[in-house]
Amino acid sequence: MKDDWMTPESIIPQVENQSFDTFDSFYENIPYEGSLGILALGAMGLLAWRKKRAEIGKASGKDTGEQNA
């Protein structure tokens, strides 16, 4: 199994509060594919990933696979 994802500190930002700066730097680094670490953040991670993916997708014409509600 890959090792890099097994160290949560490298994936989940140590967000001690929801400060604008910290969230921005986290958001900037979200990959298009997402990660288990981002899912492990829960609602915040999921919504941020979807938003980032939509932005990247729009910019590059990718299908983001957004679900229909």
């Binding site: 199994m1 890959k2 994802w5 097994m6 949560p8 994936i11 989940i12 967000v15 990959p31 594919e33 997402g34 990660s35 288990l36 670490g37 899912l39 492990a40 953040l41 829960g42 609602a43 915040m44 999921l46 919504l47 696979g65 679900q67 229909n68 509600a69």
Partner: protein
């Protein structure tokens, strides 16, 4: 009123989590969130109940009661108006769960994904039901939130958006579990699809739970993750060490999935702890364990809930918070104890009708819980549902399909009446087993007799009925049933000889018993129950060294066999190795607290070691669990009279003995 010990309580359920799998991961530093809980709190085994069926168990955790009281006795139930069957619903629960009691006391209370919790109950907080997370159509099709999934209705739109569809996931989510996923022909091997569904489902639950923690006030939150159980049912056969029948290529592909599941849960736990904050009491539990070593069954019986044979009788409990001891182990905990413990943490009384006890050994100071007759007698709005609430048939159908896919239920008969009858039979069977688990064999007997009468072909019903007959002293009937089963079965099963051996033991024909048991051993030497029985036979024959060898073998196969530990206690008592006897008896009690004979043997050992007060405590526990146990009362009378100078207490036990003797005489007349 007792003092409130916890400001907030977060109850996290990890279905099927098992220390045997967790421990190596902890040793490798791969579960830091759980490690921090353990180091700063208490941990231990959590004994499950029989039958080990998850909706029954999670309801026992939430209510502190056995299934005969709480009413959830199966995965499925008849749908209203005889419209077939449906997954068991929250409206079938007959008693208050923790969140109902806390709602009644105006605590802000949230529940996410509990099993069963659909339809969502109108509690004093958010309730997200267990019908929330499952996607039932491709991602490009509508995925409406089914009615009744979220309370309050005003929050439906929020939680709708927090669900994860399996098709949203990418390689980044799958490769950590299956690094060589690209090698898999997904047209032939559907395991990656199953894996994606499990990850998506638990991510949805986690999103909902974290949203609540971030946005809602709360005093209590209960969140249930079923994913570890699903990872294990789907992939435990590939977990190292490789089982002989598992092809090398499949083993290589999927060997990391189960561990990966635990690591992912630890990451999610880290986030929950981060959001909950430091001044929270956290309780992490599982409803049962999961065999992960040589005790993994080689095949699953083709019967309803056959996958439950993969379950291990010990789940996990870990607790951290203010007034909880640090870095300590607790013993003898059962999943019935969680609800009483949470009530004690909130300074609330415990219902006398609850079957569990608060885990007071976890606290860093003496705690005296208070009791009331029952929370069912306490009036007031508590957020429970009326019986037989109408539900969305589509949601029910989707949930049924998942239960069938998991192997927990068989595909229902297309004839609705037949399907209902089969479900009712299974429900009654599980209820009978729940009675037997409480030592209420006389309540189980009529249920099993009726089932057996209508279903002679069901070996499971026959075996449980035979066991019941054996315990209540109907040896002849037990033997008739077993011999009938053997005659009608074409294939030999070592279980038959195990049963015949057990019957002969009960009939005190020890030599004959040994014959059957040793024959079973030749066919299936790894059955731990078998070696316990062999040990019992040798004990009765006075062959102590042979008995010791058999119990030792049982413990080599399964170190957590409470029966084998108690067997060793008896061997040591007979050999006058009293300290060892006490140790083994304590081991047994540490595994299963509600095991009266082990308390009795502990009492005997402690008496011989002249530790009379502790001996009396042990006999008192035995007498509480089995009030009619004459041996315990005799020993208590002796200890109080001769050793502890408490003549009043001695007299009390003499009175009890006289009453028991009188009742027995009445029965004989």
């Amino acid at each position: 009123m007792p003092k409130r010990l916890a400001k907030k309580v977060l109850l996290v359920g990890w279905d099927a989590a098992d220390w045997k799998i967790i421990n190596p991961l902890l040793d490798n530093g791969q579960m830091p969130a759980l490690e921090s809980l353990i180091n700063n709190g208490v941990m231990g085994n959590l004994a499950t109940l029989d039958p080990p069926m998850s909706p029954m168990l999670w309801t026992s955790i939430a209510t502190g009661m056995h299934a005969d009281k709480h009413g959830i006795i199966n995965f499925t139930e008849p749908a209203p108006q005889s419209a077939g069957i449906r997954p068991v619903t929250a409206s079938s629960r007959k008693v208050k769960a923790l969140w109902n009691i806390l709602t009644q006391k105006n605590y802000k209370t949230h529940v996410v994904g509990w099993w069963p919790s659909h339809p969502a109950e109108p509690i004093n907080g958010v309730c997200v039901s267990n019908f929330y997370q499952r996607a039932h159509a491709p991602i490009d099709k509508p995925w409406p939130l089914r009615p009744g999934t979220v309370h309050p209705k005003s929050k439906e739109k929020i939680f709708d958006k927090l669900r994860v569809h399996p098709q949203e996931l990418t390689e980044a989510h799958i490769l950590p579990f299956v690094p060589d996923a690209a090698k898999i022909d997904q047209d032939k091997d559907k395991r990656l699809e199953s894996l994606a569904k499990i990850i998506a489902d638990c991510s949805s639950i986690h999103s909902a739970a974290t949203w609540i923690l971030e946005h809602e006030e709360w005093d209590f939150m209960a969140v249930y993750y079923d994913a570890i159980d699903h990872f294990c049912h789907g992939f435990m056969n590939f977990h190292p060490p490789r089982m002989n029948h598992v092809p090398h290529d499949l083993f290589d592909l999927y060997k990391g999935v189960v561990s990966g599941g635990y690591l992912f849960h630890d990451m999610m736990l880290s986030r929950l702890l981060q959001l909950a904050g430091d001044d929270v009491t956290v309780i992490l539990v599982s409803d049962h364990g999961f065999h992960s070593d040589h005790l993994r069954p080689l095949s699953i019986p083709k019967e309803p809930a056959g996958p439950a044979w993969q379950h291990r009788p010990y789940g996990v409990v870990c607790m951290k918070g203010q007034h909880i001891q640090k870095d300590e182990r607790i013993y003898g905990a059962s999943l019935l104890d969680i609800a009483p413990t949470v009530l004690t943490l909130f300074g609330l009384p415990i219902g006398n009708d609850m079957d569990g006890k608060p885990l007071v050994q976890s606290f860093d100071k003496p705690v005296e819980p208070e009791f009331i007759p029952s929370w069912e007698d306490v009036e007031g709005e508590c957020g429970m549902l009326p019986e037989n609430v109408q539900q969305d048939p589509y949601a029910e159908q989707e949930a049924m399909e998942q239960l069938i896919a998991l192997g927990y239920v068989e595909k229902p008969d297309e004839d609705h009446q037949k399907a209902i009858e089969q479900t009712l039979n299974e429900s009654q069977f599980y209820l009978a087993r729940a009675y037997m688990n409480k030592n209420l064999y006389h309540d189980a007997m009529p249920i099993l007799e009726k089932l057996y009468e209508k279903n002679y072909d069901q070996t499971r019903y026959a075996f449980q009925l035979a066991k019941c007959c054996q315990v209540v002293g109907k040896q002849v009937k037990a033997r008739e049933i077993v011999e009938r089963v053997i005659q009608t079965n074409e294939k030999y099963h070592p279980q038959f000889d195990l049963l015949l051996g057990s019957l002969s033991l009960a009939e005190k024909d020890y030599k004959r018993a040994l014959g059957f048991l040793l024959k079973a051993e030749k066919s299936e030497p790894r059955l731990p129950v078998l070696h316990q029985q062999i040990g019992q036979a040798y004990l009765k024959m006075g062959k102590l060294d042979d008995a010791e060898r058999a119990f030792t073998k049982a413990l080599e196969i399964d170190p957590d066999s409470h029966i084998a530990h108690d067997g060793m206690a008896v061997v040591c008592l007979k050999k006058h190795q009293n300290e060892d006897a006490a140790t083994f008896a304590l081991n047994a009690i540490g595994l299963i607290y509600h095991y009266p004979i082990a308390h009795y043997h502990l009492g005997l050992a402690l008496s011989r070691l002249e530790m009379y007060e502790r001996a009396a405590e042990a006999f008192e526990v035995c007498a509480v669990i089995v009030p009619g146990f004459k041996g315990a009362h005799r020993m208590l009378k002796h200890l109080y009279q001769r050793r502890l100078n408490m003549s009043d207490k001695a007299a009390k036990h003499q009175v009890i003995l006289d009453e028991i003797n009188a009742k027995q005489s009445e029965k004989l007349i």
